[in-house]
Symmetry: C2
Subunit: 401 residues, 2 copies
């Protein structure tokens, strides 16, 4: 039994993964369908926004110089008109084009209407309450950079500059296989003694979706399929996918089957990472085009840890994104969190908000098989390999889930 | 011109909105399609997870008492067998059912294989390295509570307990109308002088999608439609939607048209909020079934602010969620942020990471029409109505976008 495989540091594992994956192809989509997609090229404005000078307030368009010296005691009188010539003003509403000849907008509350004229009670300076052409965006400006995951406001910006089509990375197709004789498919199988329902396939599909990929559930491969069956499942899965996630059977036999199959089909770059949970994770490049395959642990929390640490960064790179951390908050450790030098620990925590500040409370029942430690968690803390643990009250970064 | 409408405090506006909206209907979906949906009922486990005692490590299943007193110098010898009787052990791999008779798992590294037997170098206590039946979840436990927005790990949990169908709130259907003679549809219209492309409709659709609703773009209503046309557009929109967002034309005439139409069709609960930007926001309940309609400002940043402060909480309640804040970080204000008592300011900021900590830097070009102030922002800071502003170096909460 080859149990004591070499575990490599997480950093090294991640470096091999990122070296092994490349951005997927690019496609063109309507801006209106682009939310959450990643830009493959900078977007430059092909027009000024706004395309004309406009009023930023409700009031009167004026020549600022006509208002100089106005006070409530000695107001300046302007004639209402259609355009703004000397001594004239034009009523204007927020967002409307600034009438010709005007260079400022006088707010309504600093005026008094008087017959066919207006009394100005306070002067304005030129440009006051005017939103100038190009104030938001100038023609030629880069408004959104390649590598950006588009947010709702970005979609609004693309509409504003009428960028109908955007070049984005395709969503990586991620094949998902579970292996293990003990597994039943919760969608199709009935309960059986000494068998468990496969949670990894469905959880990984959801994680992939959240990370911007398209999950392809490829089902369960059992021991009876044999080495050939597993090899074929991998090759068939890879034919449909940009990357394959194979979450591992429980038994060493199954794990070795998989490592063996990947070694025969390509290059197994590592198998075993100094990550807890998540140690059995591995990574291979298969075939002449070296398609990436992840070996993920059978226990669900271990699979989550390996996904967060290795697969999510890979999916980001495949989508042309720079590395982006999960959103995080700083909190104090409510208890000491023991760890070991040379190993990265993935610790599920709840947040508690106390008068003294935010605390990260490690969840006690925390075996790699205890998925409820993940559903109960607000986030996770990483204890990096150069640390022996985290002291009580120490400030830690909690990555929010 | 009815410009100086009464502005109500944001808190009061929000209270009226939350009182005016109710959770939408419930539907049943497969757990595998439930990511991001909100549970309408608690989910209880209908089985133990794991459903049997299992090994938490690779090694040998033993009776713990047989190992007592074992040391490297005087190891205890156990016979390999198929079940665990006195003096026997059974090889077992992580995740496999614990063989009958065993009550602990001895890690491989504390043993030495010797012919048909095993030398034990270290004792184990009963229960060691065993993951007991129900350790993760016990039958009858509530594993996920009503009101929870389902995360990837929750989907995994639903698979693990084989909860095939879950009751979730329907996705609220959100109709979106833009009003304004100056607007062109970027998907279908060509540029015209003194016209701008409608960004609100597409940005609101994306915001709604992000917030868990289903957006229905209902196009642009122009002044030429008249009061009747606007009224009909509202009624037709409401017939297809659970809630309607009408983002406002630039001119006071248009705004009054809308307020007028809503007053005729139902009850206009407020029009004008002490929120900057976002002041022209309003809220009405229309028809005998009092369907909610939001009036949103024409300027895009004002619409974003009103959406974040009023519409997002409404969509949460409509989906049966408790109020959930955006994720946030604490940062120090890089500059003084002036505001006014009695008004809530929605201030776009960038985050800067310095040795001294995280700083929130207000974005300078910040008119309500300057959408790039949103696309450049990492988040926003709220200056609440009871504050006159934020001092330089003051600690603020930055809501991340």
């Amino acid at each position: 039994m080859k149990i004591f495989r070499k575990k490599i540091p997480l950093k090294e594992a991640l470096a091999k993964v990122l070296e092994g994956v490349s951005p997927v192809d690019v496609e063109e989509v309507s801006f209106s369908e682009a939310l959450g997609r990643v830009l493959a090229a900078d977007v430059r404005a092909n027009r000024d926004v706004p395309p004309f000078d406009r009023a930023a307030m409700d009031g009167y368009a004026v020549r600022a110089e006509d208002t100089f010296g106005a006070t409530p005691e000695s107001p300046v009188r302007l004639r209402l008109s259609k355009s703004v010539r000397e001594g004239e003003c034009v009523p204007v509403q927020t967002g409307e084009p600034l009438p010709e000849g005007g260079d400022a907008v006088l707010m309504l509350e600093f005026t008094r209407r008087l017959g066919d004229g207006v009394e100005v009670l306070k002067p304005v300076t030129p440009g006051k309450n005017v939103s100038f052409r190009g104030e938001d965006v100038r023609q030629g400006d880069v408004v959104l950079r390649a590598g950006r995951k588009l947010r709702p406001h970005d979609v609004g910006m693309l509409a504003a500059i009428r960028q109908r089509i955007v070049r984005v990375y395709k969503k990586p197709k991620v094949g998902i296989i579970s292996t293990g004789d003990e597994l039943l498919d919760p969608l199709t199988d009935e309960p059986q003694p000494l068998r468990i329902f496969d949670s990894n396939s469905y959880m990984l599909a959801a994680l992939v979706e959240e990370a911007g990929g398209t999950p392809l559930g490829l089902g369960i491969v059992r021991d009876e399929a044999g080495r050939e069956g597993l090899k074929n499942a991998i090759l068939e899965g890879l034919a449909k996918s940009d990357v394959l996630l194979v979450s591992g059977g429980s038994s060493v036999g199954e794990r070795d089957f998989l490592a063996d199959a990947l070694t025969r089909l390509g290059e197994l770059l590592f198998h075993g990472v100094a990550l807890r949970p998540g140690e059995p994770a591995g990574f291979a490049l298969v075939g002449v085009i070296r398609k990436p395959v992840f070996m993920l642990p059978g226990f669900p929390v271990a699979t989550v840890a390996a996904f967060e640490m290795l697969v999510r960064p890979a999916l980001q790179k495949m989508q042309g994104m720079p590395p982006v951390e999960r959103k995080s908050v700083l909190a104090r450790a409510k208890r000491k969190i023991p760890s070991e030098l040379g190993r990265t620990d993935f610790v599920r925590v709840k947040l508690e908000f106390e008068a003294a500040g935010v605390y990260a409370v490690p969840i006690r029942t925390s075996g790699a098989g205890v998925l409820s430690s993940m559903t109960k968690a607000d986030g996770f803390v990483l204890v990096h390999e150069e640390k022996e643990g985290i002291e009580k009250e120490e400030l830690v970064k909690v990555f929010l889930v």
